[in-house]
Assembly symmetry: C2
Homo-oligomer: 196 residues x 2
Protein backbone atom coordinates (compact mmCIF):
# COMPACT_ATOMS: atom_id res chain seq x y z
CA UNK A 1 0.00 0.00 0.00
CA UNK A 2 2.97 2.32 -0.39
CA UNK A 3 2.56 5.34 -2.63
CA UNK A 4 4.65 3.62 -5.27
CA UNK A 5 2.37 0.62 -5.22
CA UNK A 6 -0.65 2.93 -5.38
CA UNK A 7 0.90 4.66 -8.33
CA UNK A 8 1.35 1.41 -10.25
CA UNK A 9 -2.21 0.43 -9.43
CA UNK A 10 -3.47 3.73 -10.81
CA UNK A 11 -1.39 3.33 -13.95
CA UNK A 12 -2.98 -0.06 -14.54
CA UNK A 13 -6.48 1.34 -14.00
CA UNK A 14 -5.71 4.26 -16.29
CA UNK A 15 -4.40 1.87 -18.94
CA UNK A 16 -7.48 -0.34 -18.68
CA UNK A 17 -9.73 2.68 -19.03
CA UNK A 18 -7.83 4.02 -22.03
CA UNK A 19 -7.76 0.70 -23.87
CA UNK A 20 -11.41 -0.09 -23.20
CA UNK A 21 -12.37 3.32 -24.56
CA UNK A 22 -10.31 2.76 -27.67
CA UNK A 23 -11.44 -0.86 -28.04
CA UNK A 24 -12.24 -1.69 -31.63
CA UNK A 25 -14.02 -5.01 -31.70
CA UNK A 26 -11.56 -7.54 -30.31
CA UNK A 27 -11.53 -7.52 -26.53
CA UNK A 28 -8.89 -5.98 -24.32
CA UNK A 29 -6.59 -8.57 -22.76
CA UNK A 30 -4.74 -8.38 -19.47
CA UNK A 31 -1.48 -8.47 -21.42
CA UNK A 32 -2.56 -5.41 -23.44
CA UNK A 33 -3.38 -3.48 -20.29
CA UNK A 34 -0.07 -4.42 -18.67
CA UNK A 35 1.84 -3.32 -21.75
CA UNK A 36 -0.02 -0.02 -21.89
CA UNK A 37 0.68 0.53 -18.19
CA UNK A 38 4.38 -0.19 -18.76
CA UNK A 39 4.30 -3.11 -16.36
CA UNK A 40 4.55 -6.90 -16.59
CA UNK A 41 1.41 -8.98 -16.98
CA UNK A 42 2.03 -10.58 -13.61
CA UNK A 43 2.16 -7.21 -11.89
CA UNK A 44 -1.53 -6.81 -12.73
CA UNK A 45 -2.23 -9.90 -10.64
CA UNK A 46 -0.39 -8.35 -7.71
CA UNK A 47 -3.01 -5.59 -7.64
CA UNK A 48 -6.16 -7.32 -8.86
CA UNK A 49 -7.26 -10.87 -8.18
CA UNK A 50 -8.68 -11.43 -11.69
CA UNK A 51 -9.93 -9.71 -14.81
CA UNK A 52 -13.40 -9.09 -13.37
CA UNK A 53 -11.87 -7.47 -10.31
CA UNK A 54 -9.81 -5.14 -12.48
CA UNK A 55 -12.88 -4.10 -14.47
CA UNK A 56 -14.91 -3.49 -11.32
CA UNK A 57 -12.15 -1.37 -9.83
CA UNK A 58 -11.94 0.51 -13.12
CA UNK A 59 -15.58 1.52 -12.79
CA UNK A 60 -14.88 2.89 -9.31
CA UNK A 61 -11.81 4.65 -10.66
CA UNK A 62 -13.94 6.35 -13.29
CA UNK A 63 -16.69 7.23 -10.79
CA UNK A 64 -14.14 8.96 -8.62
CA UNK A 65 -12.31 10.58 -11.52
CA UNK A 66 -15.52 11.99 -13.01
CA UNK A 67 -17.02 12.90 -9.65
CA UNK A 68 -20.20 10.90 -10.03
CA UNK A 69 -21.37 11.92 -6.57
CA UNK A 70 -20.98 15.58 -7.40
CA UNK A 71 -22.86 15.14 -10.63
CA UNK A 72 -25.81 13.58 -8.85
CA UNK A 73 -25.96 16.21 -6.10
CA UNK A 74 -28.07 18.75 -8.00
CA UNK A 75 -30.81 16.18 -8.56
CA UNK A 76 -30.82 15.28 -4.87
CA UNK A 77 -31.19 18.92 -3.93
CA UNK A 78 -33.98 19.64 -6.39
CA UNK A 79 -36.97 21.43 -4.92
CA UNK A 80 -39.64 19.59 -6.91
CA UNK A 81 -40.07 16.10 -8.35
CA UNK A 82 -40.26 17.50 -11.85
CA UNK A 83 -36.97 19.31 -11.40
CA UNK A 84 -35.39 16.25 -9.87
CA UNK A 85 -36.49 14.14 -12.82
CA UNK A 86 -34.77 16.43 -15.32
CA UNK A 87 -31.60 16.77 -13.29
CA UNK A 88 -31.36 13.04 -12.66
CA UNK A 89 -31.82 12.20 -16.33
CA UNK A 90 -29.14 14.75 -17.25
CA UNK A 91 -26.62 13.39 -14.77
CA UNK A 92 -27.25 9.74 -15.59
CA UNK A 93 -27.26 10.11 -19.37
CA UNK A 94 -24.02 12.02 -19.20
CA UNK A 95 -22.54 9.34 -16.98
CA UNK A 96 -23.50 6.48 -19.31
CA UNK A 97 -21.29 7.85 -22.06
CA UNK A 98 -18.31 7.77 -19.75
CA UNK A 99 -18.87 4.41 -18.12
CA UNK A 100 -20.04 2.60 -21.27
CA UNK A 101 -16.75 1.11 -22.47
CA UNK A 102 -16.09 -0.50 -19.12
CA UNK A 103 -19.74 -1.39 -18.66
CA UNK A 104 -19.69 -3.22 -21.96
CA UNK A 105 -16.69 -5.30 -20.93
CA UNK A 106 -18.17 -5.96 -17.50
CA UNK A 107 -21.51 -7.02 -18.99
CA UNK A 108 -19.73 -9.35 -21.38
CA UNK A 109 -17.92 -10.95 -18.46
CA UNK A 110 -21.12 -11.29 -16.46
CA UNK A 111 -22.09 -14.30 -18.55
CA UNK A 112 -19.17 -16.30 -17.16
CA UNK A 113 -18.08 -14.48 -14.00
CA UNK A 114 -20.61 -14.20 -11.21
CA UNK A 115 -18.58 -11.53 -9.41
CA UNK A 116 -18.77 -9.34 -12.47
CA UNK A 117 -22.51 -9.98 -12.68
CA UNK A 118 -23.01 -9.15 -9.00
CA UNK A 119 -20.94 -5.98 -9.23
CA UNK A 120 -22.90 -4.65 -12.21
CA UNK A 121 -26.14 -5.68 -10.55
CA UNK A 122 -25.25 -3.64 -7.49
CA UNK A 123 -24.54 -0.57 -9.57
CA UNK A 124 -27.83 -0.91 -11.36
CA UNK A 125 -29.71 -1.42 -8.09
CA UNK A 126 -28.09 1.72 -6.68
CA UNK A 127 -29.16 3.57 -9.82
CA UNK A 128 -32.68 2.17 -9.39
CA UNK A 129 -32.82 3.82 -5.96
CA UNK A 130 -32.17 7.09 -7.74
CA UNK A 131 -35.15 6.34 -9.96
CA UNK A 132 -37.27 5.56 -6.91
CA UNK A 133 -36.31 8.85 -5.31
CA UNK A 134 -37.51 10.70 -8.40
CA UNK A 135 -40.81 8.83 -8.45
CA UNK A 136 -41.30 9.40 -4.71
CA UNK A 137 -40.82 13.14 -5.13
CA UNK A 138 -43.23 13.21 -8.06
CA UNK A 139 -45.75 11.35 -5.93
CA UNK A 140 -45.23 13.74 -3.00
CA UNK A 141 -45.90 16.66 -5.31
CA UNK A 142 -49.04 14.92 -6.70
CA UNK A 143 -47.38 14.96 -10.08
CA UNK A 144 -47.03 11.24 -10.63
CA UNK A 145 -49.14 9.88 -13.45
CA UNK A 146 -51.96 7.66 -12.25
CA UNK A 147 -51.64 5.41 -15.28
CA UNK A 148 -49.37 3.03 -13.43
CA UNK A 149 -48.49 2.11 -9.88
CA UNK A 150 -45.44 3.81 -8.36
CA UNK A 151 -43.58 0.50 -8.53
CA UNK A 152 -44.33 0.13 -12.23
CA UNK A 153 -43.26 3.70 -12.82
CA UNK A 154 -39.92 2.98 -11.21
CA UNK A 155 -39.43 -0.17 -13.31
CA UNK A 156 -40.29 1.68 -16.47
CA UNK A 157 -38.12 4.68 -15.70
CA UNK A 158 -35.27 2.35 -14.78
CA UNK A 159 -35.65 0.47 -18.04
CA UNK A 160 -35.88 3.65 -20.09
CA UNK A 161 -32.55 4.80 -18.65
CA UNK A 162 -30.78 1.47 -19.16
CA UNK A 163 -27.34 1.35 -20.68
CA UNK A 164 -28.72 -1.05 -23.31
CA UNK A 165 -31.23 1.56 -24.46
CA UNK A 166 -28.51 4.16 -24.68
CA UNK A 167 -26.47 1.68 -26.72
CA UNK A 168 -29.41 0.94 -28.99
CA UNK A 169 -30.45 4.53 -29.61
CA UNK A 170 -26.99 6.02 -30.05
CA UNK A 171 -24.98 3.20 -31.61
CA UNK A 172 -27.67 1.23 -33.48
CA UNK A 173 -29.99 4.11 -34.38
CA UNK A 174 -27.24 6.70 -34.74
CA UNK A 175 -28.76 9.31 -32.45
CA UNK A 176 -26.30 11.88 -31.21
CA UNK A 177 -26.05 12.30 -27.45
CA UNK A 178 -28.01 15.55 -27.29
CA UNK A 179 -30.87 14.03 -29.29
CA UNK A 180 -30.81 10.98 -27.05
CA UNK A 181 -30.98 13.07 -23.89
CA UNK A 182 -33.73 15.32 -25.21
CA UNK A 183 -35.91 12.38 -26.22
CA UNK A 184 -35.34 10.45 -23.00
CA UNK A 185 -36.24 13.53 -21.00
CA UNK A 186 -39.35 14.14 -23.06
CA UNK A 187 -40.39 10.48 -22.84
CA UNK A 188 -39.91 10.23 -19.10
CA UNK A 189 -42.03 13.35 -18.65
CA UNK A 190 -44.72 12.01 -20.94
CA UNK A 191 -44.81 8.61 -19.23
CA UNK A 192 -44.39 9.56 -15.59
CA UNK A 193 -45.92 12.98 -15.05
CA UNK A 194 -49.67 13.43 -14.70
CA UNK A 195 -51.25 15.67 -17.36
CA UNK A 196 -52.69 19.10 -16.48
Amino acid sequence: MSSKSQNTRNQILQAAWKLLEADRGKGVRIADIAKQAGVSRQAVYLHFTKRADLLIETTHFIDHHKDLEGRLRPSRNAATGIERLALFVDAWCHYIVEIYPVAKALLAMSATDSDAAAAWDNRMKAMKHGCEAVINDLKRDKNLSSQMSAKESVDLFWTLLSVRNWEHLTLDCGWIQSKYVAHIKQLSRQLLIAKI
Copy 2:
Protein backbone atom coordinates in the same frame (compact mmCIF):
# COMPACT_ATOMS: atom_id res chain seq x y z
CA MET B 1 -27.04 -34.10 -47.83
CA SER B 2 -28.62 -37.52 -47.42
CA SER B 3 -31.65 -37.84 -45.17
CA LYS B 4 -29.49 -39.48 -42.53
CA SER B 5 -27.12 -36.55 -42.59
CA GLN B 6 -30.05 -34.16 -42.38
CA ASN B 7 -31.33 -36.12 -39.45
CA THR B 8 -28.05 -35.78 -37.54
CA ARG B 9 -27.98 -32.10 -38.33
CA ASN B 10 -31.46 -31.68 -36.89
CA GLN B 11 -30.54 -33.64 -33.79
CA ILE B 12 -27.62 -31.30 -33.20
CA LEU B 13 -29.83 -28.24 -33.67
CA GLN B 14 -32.45 -29.71 -31.37
CA ALA B 15 -29.78 -30.45 -28.77
CA ALA B 16 -28.38 -26.93 -29.00
CA TRP B 17 -31.85 -25.48 -28.59
CA LYS B 18 -32.66 -27.66 -25.59
CA LEU B 19 -29.39 -26.97 -23.79
CA LEU B 20 -29.52 -23.23 -24.41
CA GLU B 21 -33.05 -23.14 -23.01
CA ALA B 22 -31.96 -25.05 -19.92
CA ASP B 23 -28.71 -23.07 -19.57
CA ARG B 24 -28.07 -22.11 -15.97
CA GLY B 25 -25.26 -19.61 -15.90
CA LYS B 26 -22.23 -21.36 -17.35
CA GLY B 27 -22.30 -21.36 -21.13
CA VAL B 28 -23.18 -24.26 -23.38
CA ARG B 29 -20.12 -25.84 -24.99
CA ILE B 30 -19.90 -27.65 -28.31
CA ALA B 31 -19.02 -30.83 -26.39
CA ASP B 32 -22.22 -30.55 -24.36
CA ILE B 33 -24.32 -30.17 -27.46
CA ALA B 34 -22.65 -33.13 -29.14
CA LYS B 35 -23.22 -35.29 -26.08
CA GLN B 36 -26.88 -34.28 -25.88
CA ALA B 37 -27.29 -35.04 -29.59
CA GLY B 38 -25.69 -38.46 -29.08
CA VAL B 39 -22.91 -37.65 -31.51
CA SER B 40 -19.16 -37.01 -31.33
CA ARG B 41 -17.90 -33.47 -30.90
CA GLN B 42 -16.22 -33.65 -34.29
CA ALA B 43 -19.50 -34.55 -35.97
CA VAL B 44 -20.75 -31.08 -35.07
CA TYR B 45 -17.92 -29.63 -37.19
CA LEU B 46 -19.04 -31.76 -40.15
CA HIS B 47 -22.34 -29.87 -40.15
CA PHE B 48 -21.39 -26.41 -38.89
CA THR B 49 -18.22 -24.50 -39.56
CA LYS B 50 -17.97 -23.01 -36.05
CA ARG B 51 -19.91 -22.25 -32.90
CA ALA B 52 -21.34 -19.00 -34.28
CA ASP B 53 -22.59 -20.84 -37.34
CA LEU B 54 -24.35 -23.42 -35.20
CA LEU B 55 -26.06 -20.72 -33.15
CA ILE B 56 -27.17 -18.85 -36.25
CA GLU B 57 -28.60 -22.03 -37.77
CA THR B 58 -30.33 -22.74 -34.48
CA THR B 59 -32.19 -19.44 -34.74
CA HIS B 60 -33.38 -20.41 -38.21
CA PHE B 61 -34.35 -23.82 -36.91
CA ILE B 62 -36.48 -22.20 -34.22
CA ASP B 63 -38.01 -19.72 -36.68
CA HIS B 64 -39.12 -22.58 -38.87
CA HIS B 65 -40.22 -24.79 -35.99
CA LYS B 66 -42.33 -22.05 -34.43
CA ASP B 67 -43.61 -20.78 -37.77
CA LEU B 68 -42.43 -17.21 -37.32
CA GLU B 69 -43.75 -16.28 -40.78
CA GLY B 70 -47.22 -17.55 -39.91
CA ARG B 71 -47.18 -15.67 -36.65
CA LEU B 72 -46.40 -12.40 -38.41
CA ARG B 73 -49.02 -12.88 -41.14
CA PRO B 74 -52.00 -11.47 -39.16
CA SER B 75 -50.14 -8.19 -38.59
CA ARG B 76 -49.33 -7.92 -42.29
CA ASN B 77 -52.97 -8.44 -43.19
CA ALA B 78 -54.31 -5.93 -40.68
CA ALA B 79 -56.79 -3.43 -42.09
CA THR B 80 -55.61 -0.43 -40.09
CA GLY B 81 -52.33 0.80 -38.69
CA ILE B 82 -53.68 0.63 -35.16
CA GLU B 83 -54.63 -3.02 -35.63
CA ARG B 84 -51.29 -3.78 -37.21
CA LEU B 85 -49.50 -2.22 -34.28
CA ALA B 86 -51.27 -4.47 -31.77
CA LEU B 87 -50.84 -7.63 -33.85
CA PHE B 88 -47.18 -6.92 -34.53
CA VAL B 89 -46.43 -6.32 -30.86
CA ASP B 90 -48.24 -9.54 -29.96
CA ALA B 91 -46.35 -11.64 -32.47
CA TRP B 92 -42.96 -10.17 -31.70
CA CYS B 93 -43.26 -10.27 -27.91
CA HIS B 94 -44.33 -13.88 -28.11
CA TYR B 95 -41.41 -14.65 -30.37
CA ILE B 96 -38.82 -13.04 -28.07
CA VAL B 97 -39.60 -15.54 -25.33
CA GLU B 98 -38.80 -18.40 -27.68
CA ILE B 99 -35.71 -17.02 -29.34
CA TYR B 100 -34.22 -15.47 -26.20
CA PRO B 101 -31.97 -18.33 -25.04
CA VAL B 102 -30.28 -18.53 -28.43
CA ALA B 103 -30.31 -14.77 -28.85
CA LYS B 104 -28.47 -14.41 -25.56
CA ALA B 105 -25.74 -16.83 -26.65
CA LEU B 106 -25.50 -15.18 -30.06
CA LEU B 107 -25.26 -11.71 -28.54
CA ALA B 108 -22.54 -12.90 -26.19
CA MET B 109 -20.58 -14.23 -29.17
CA SER B 110 -21.07 -11.01 -31.12
CA ALA B 111 -18.35 -9.39 -29.02
CA THR B 112 -15.72 -11.72 -30.47
CA ASP B 113 -17.26 -13.18 -33.63
CA SER B 114 -18.16 -10.75 -36.38
CA ASP B 115 -20.28 -13.34 -38.20
CA ALA B 116 -22.43 -13.72 -35.12
CA ALA B 117 -22.70 -9.96 -34.86
CA ALA B 118 -23.67 -9.62 -38.52
CA ALA B 119 -26.26 -12.39 -38.29
CA TRP B 120 -27.98 -10.85 -35.27
CA ASP B 121 -27.77 -7.44 -36.90
CA ASN B 122 -29.57 -8.76 -39.96
CA ARG B 123 -32.36 -10.21 -37.86
CA MET B 124 -32.80 -6.95 -36.02
CA LYS B 125 -32.81 -4.98 -39.25
CA ALA B 126 -35.48 -7.28 -40.67
CA MET B 127 -37.49 -6.72 -37.51
CA LYS B 128 -36.99 -2.98 -37.89
CA HIS B 129 -38.67 -3.21 -41.29
CA GLY B 130 -41.67 -4.65 -39.49
CA CYS B 131 -41.63 -1.59 -37.23
CA GLU B 132 -41.41 0.67 -40.27
CA ALA B 133 -44.41 -1.03 -41.85
CA VAL B 134 -46.44 -0.35 -38.73
CA ILE B 135 -45.43 3.31 -38.64
CA ASN B 136 -46.16 3.67 -42.36
CA ASP B 137 -49.67 2.31 -41.92
CA LEU B 138 -50.29 4.59 -38.96
CA LYS B 139 -49.13 7.51 -41.07
CA ARG B 140 -51.33 6.45 -43.98
CA ASP B 141 -54.32 6.40 -41.62
CA LYS B 142 -53.37 9.81 -40.22
CA ASN B 143 -52.96 8.17 -36.86
CA LEU B 144 -49.25 8.74 -36.36
CA SER B 145 -48.43 11.08 -33.51
CA SER B 146 -46.97 14.38 -34.69
CA GLN B 147 -44.67 14.58 -31.70
CA MET B 148 -41.83 12.96 -33.62
CA SER B 149 -40.77 12.38 -37.19
CA ALA B 150 -41.69 9.02 -38.73
CA LYS B 151 -38.04 8.01 -38.61
CA GLU B 152 -37.81 8.79 -34.94
CA SER B 153 -41.01 6.88 -34.30
CA VAL B 154 -39.51 3.83 -35.97
CA ASP B 155 -36.32 4.10 -33.91
CA LEU B 156 -38.28 4.46 -30.72
CA PHE B 157 -40.67 1.61 -31.49
CA TRP B 158 -37.73 -0.56 -32.48
CA THR B 159 -35.95 0.23 -29.22
CA LEU B 160 -39.07 -0.34 -27.15
CA LEU B 161 -39.38 -3.84 -28.60
CA SER B 162 -35.73 -4.74 -28.17
CA VAL B 163 -34.75 -8.07 -26.69
CA ARG B 164 -32.74 -6.19 -24.08
CA ASN B 165 -35.86 -4.38 -22.88
CA TRP B 166 -37.72 -7.67 -22.67
CA GLU B 167 -34.80 -9.05 -20.67
CA HIS B 168 -34.76 -6.06 -18.37
CA LEU B 169 -38.48 -5.92 -17.69
CA THR B 170 -39.09 -9.64 -17.28
CA LEU B 171 -35.84 -10.92 -15.78
CA ASP B 172 -34.56 -7.87 -13.90
CA CYS B 173 -37.91 -6.32 -12.92
CA GLY B 174 -39.73 -9.62 -12.58
CA TRP B 175 -42.67 -8.74 -14.83
CA ILE B 176 -44.58 -11.75 -16.07
CA GLN B 177 -44.98 -12.06 -19.83
CA SER B 178 -48.63 -10.92 -19.93
CA LYS B 179 -47.81 -7.81 -17.90
CA TYR B 180 -44.85 -7.11 -20.18
CA VAL B 181 -46.96 -7.42 -23.32
CA ALA B 182 -49.80 -5.31 -21.94
CA HIS B 183 -47.46 -2.49 -20.94
CA ILE B 184 -45.51 -2.54 -24.17
CA LYS B 185 -48.73 -2.38 -26.13
CA GLN B 186 -50.05 0.46 -24.04
CA LEU B 187 -46.74 2.34 -24.27
CA SER B 188 -46.45 1.99 -28.00
CA ARG B 189 -49.99 3.31 -28.39
CA GLN B 190 -49.29 6.22 -26.07
CA LEU B 191 -46.06 7.14 -27.82
CA LEU B 192 -46.92 6.53 -31.46
CA ILE B 193 -50.62 7.20 -31.95
CA ALA B 194 -51.98 10.73 -32.24
CA LYS B 195 -54.50 11.67 -29.53
CA ILE B 196 -58.20 12.09 -30.46
